[in-house]
Amino acid sequence: MFAYIVRRLLATIPVMGVVALFVFSLLYLTPGDPAVIIAGDFATGDDVARIRAKLGLDRPFGVRFGEWAWAILRGDLGISIFTNLPVTTLIGQRVEPTVALTLSTLLVAVVLAVPMGVLAAWKAGRWLDRLVMGFAVLGFSVPIFVLAYLLIFFFSIYLEWLPVQGYTSISQGFWPFLERLILPSVALGVTYIALIARITRASMLEVLSQDYIRTAEAKGLAADKVLVGHALKNAAVPIITIIGIGIALLISGVVVTETVFAIPGIGRLVVDAILRRDYPIIQGVILIFSAVYVLINLAVDISYTFLDPRIRY
């Protein structure tokens, strides 16, 4: 088991290596002089030279990549062009809102989506199933920011139940913190809920057609015991897998949600960086988000061994 975890951990190194190489070489692959593009339309020759030196564009690719990768391994993501602050500091200041938003969304999504999928599979073909599946199609189709504005229009502006925008740290009280997270979490979570509910239903349908489920029903076991104890447990692997893969949806969605709700998180940081073409920040955020995504899916892989004793490595 331990050897397996170590082996999987080592297997993430080439993946992260490709990510790093890709993120870095973007500066060289794109047409035109990146220093000129980053400097913008109103830059002087000095500005361009300064940016070129800062990004190390005046030195060979291999040397520069080596230095850059070595710096990252030591926890140095470079210096922001616009603010002149270390990228790690800038990201560090923005971590709390993003973590709060993603965790609350994750929690709400899993708590809602799994029972939805289970019930839909149980009542397959009936109105409850159609309702859940109809919601899933809608969830895939309404883009996060459209949904976000609809929620704001209805709950904040029309009903005046919840604040329109903003973020309050948990250190300033739990309710003000929670109040501002409800709408963003719902907006961010809907696509994710749709995805998990759909896979849960599919996986449950597969399991429910097995002989041992018929046996469990035949011996008179209560429906909830069959569904949760027998079926859901055996349907868990694909569900956990999609929860892990779906994290990519959440990460992408954070960028949009934080923009709409004016939440000062990492997503907002990257959007501001785009407008200023502050490339070190964009590189740093992509690296960190990708690393989080890879590590979560590593954890998912390892969890299989606990969920399904048949899986042995």
Binding site: G17, V137, L195, R198, L205, V255, V260, F289
Partner: protein, 293 residues
């Protein structure tokens, strides 16, 4: 975003026509999808006849008008007619959706066939694809757009690069399972040449799953384009795409809700239409998967 990772479908012969008709009857939602989609396409094609005022026409006098008989969806901060711009936006959205779907399916098919058949290429290319797939697609597109000039072509290229690994992976898994099928083994045993096996035996069997995947990519590309434009990394602000119109309404949404609402509804309906068609196609082309989903 809207793509559901699907297991590699096997044993799909080209479906007889009856199956499609059958699926249409069993899935009335697909008919709804087709009708909506046709309406969207017609709107995009005939946009110049549908708009009431030139979508680029600035007029400070009629700034921020509420929706009325004259300005159906109101006017924006620069006095441009939101209805006319929304109608025009259908063009951008459909162009991006279709172009990304076609390009990423084509490129993904190429890489998928190679990796499925050539061992050496497999390890190398799939390593790169795995790396690309661990970057969330929107962030990948953002990174590409941040370094290029904002233009429609660049948006299409950026979203395509983000979508290709998923297609390549799908094709690869289909090819790998087809290689073990008796009819391919028989063709190999009877001395059929390599390119003939690829073109006559493998390729036709990738059509059905790719058609379904292509539809979902189209839907997801439409959303991604809107998101990119909305956060300022998409089509240039001079082009009235739905994402751009909404971006312009962002700072004003508490007073001029209509600037965001109408393009948002059109975008949602367009994506819904494509998704409904995709679900219908999946059910018609892959009965095995249809039972599960």
């Amino acid at each position: 975003m809207a793509t559901v990772p699907s297991a590699a479908p096997l044993d799909i012969a080209t479906p007889p026509r009856g199956m499609v008709r059958d699926a249409l009857r069993r899935h009335p939602t697909m008919i709804v999808g087709i009708i909506l989609l046709v309406a969207m396409v017609l709107m995009a094609v005939f946009a110049p006849y549908l708009w009431t005022i030139d979508p680029q026409d600035l007029s400070p006098v009629r700034r921020l008008r509420q929706p009325s008989e004259l300005y159906w969806f109101g006017t924006d901060m620069l006095g441009r007619d939101v209805y006319s711009r929304t109608v025009y936006g259908a063009r951008i959205s459909l162009i991006v959706g279709i172009a990304v779907a076609v390009l990423s399916v084509g490129i993904g098919l190429f890489f998928g066939l190679i990796t499925g058949y050539v061992r050496l290429a497999d390890t190398l290319i799939m390593r790169v694809m795995d790396g690309l797939m661990s970057i969330p697609p929107i962030l990948l597109a953002i990174a590409l757009m941040a370094l290029t000039k904002a233009s429609l072509e660049n948006v299409i290229i950026a979203i395509t690069i983000a979508e290709v690994p998923r297609v390549a992976r799908l094709v690869r898994s289909v090819v790998l399972s087809l290689r073990e099928q008796p009819f391919v083994e028989a063709a190999v045993a009877s001395g059929t040449r390599f390119h003939r096996i690829l073109l006559r035996h493998i390729l036709p069997n990738t059509v059905a799953p790719l058609l379904v995947q292509g539809t979902y990519i189209c839907a997801s590309a439409m959303i991604t384009e809107a998101i990119l434009s909305f956060i300022g990394a998409g089509t240039p602000p001079t082009i009235p795409s739905w994402g751009n119109i909404m971006a312009e309404g962002r700072s004003l949404f508490q007073i001029a809700w209509y600037i965001i609402l109408f393009p948002g509804i059109f975008l949602s309906v367009a994506v819904l239409a494509v998704n409904l068609v995709g679900d219908g196609l999946r059910d018609a082309l892959d009965p095995r998967l249809a039972r599960r989903m």
